[in-house]
Symmetry: C2
Subunit: 220 residues, 2 copies
Amino acid sequence: MKIIEIKKSVFADNDRDADELRRELAGRGVFLLNLMSSPGSGKTTTLIKTIKLLKDKLNIAVMEADIDGDVDAVKISEATGIQTIQLHTGGMCHLDAEMTRQGIGNLDLDNTDLIILENVGNLVCPAEFDTGSSANAMILSVPEGHDKPLKYPLMFSVCNLVLVNKTDVMPYFDFDLGKCEEYVHMRNPKAQIIPICAKTGEGVDKFAEWLLQKVKELKR
Amino acid sequence: MKIIEIKKSVFADNDRDADELRRELAGRGVFLLNLMSSPGSGKTTTLIKTIKLLKDKLNIAVMEADIDGDVDAVKISEATGIQTIQLHTGGMCHLDAEMTRQGIGNLDLDNTDLIILENVGNLVCPAEFDTGSSANAMILSVPEGHDKPLKYPLMFSVCNLVLVNKTDVMPYFDFDLGKCEEYVHMRNPKAQIIPICAKTGEGVDKFAEWLLQKVKELKR
């Protein structure tokens, strides 16, 4: 497990840089998923469960972006044995395409089908910067409440997939899945929604299947 | 309940501007609390319960900062009847001192002892900008996990008070309060920690007492 200190991007045109990175990765048959969420929504647990289901079918690498620390990268590396690198953002609240490229430069792309970028825990800034990912996904956890698409519109607009996590604690919170779906689709009518419980593993197979299909489509 | 569209600050020196605002407010006997947290940690519910305990003792105003929407401001206004204004940050992930000042300009300061600013739900950016507040507090909710001070160091460094919310669901999450306290104090040895459950009201009286003391100290 490597720790990389990411430098602030000097590129002015992030959208152009993101498109270039996306093309390059597609040309090499590598799918990059940008996974976003609030702090503590369960990104790491979800990834560990998902990677265990997929690692015999795909070569997977994980890039963990955090302000500081390496707890998640160590957890994923120990639990799954796959290529994992920790990106330190130097206090920054998001990754852009050039920062993502700096991380990818440390991976063995010839032996990688799928890179999962665990972005900084934040529902605002990461949504504003195209990382060059092939798709964006986000995790909304039940304790956060079903009203989040009303308050963080851009995050839900840019995501192809919304995982609703921690469904096991639904009885203890006032979370309305129907309303959540309605609000997500208000922001993005095409967004797919998959309820999961990363702790028990429920529904994680559907996310794994979604990823497998996406990687296959890219390689076609 | 008013909605204010905040304009991006043109002041280069936020720290100086924050100090000025802090001095002005102190001169008028107004205490400004900057309340931060992740999305969905329970800021609004905590505020409603706290205001109900304090509104006969203090004149309180609330400023709700959000990217979009006004659900929280409406909730607080309806539940407590106090002065409440909604600040729209125009997509921005934080408030600085000048943006805070724009909000305060809409309040009746002569009849206000305590202003509570509910900052944008985000553990990264709001910690980087001094709002001119008299004190900073943050809410960490149990479902987010006790490891958050390891990942979001600055947020915990700048906070005088950490409220650990949703203690009622402690049995359903792997949350270790002892470790949480250890990690918070690693970032800020002076931070006070109060466990609360905004839903049931448990511990909220301690937060109300803390606020009352702070306002009294300022007015002395």
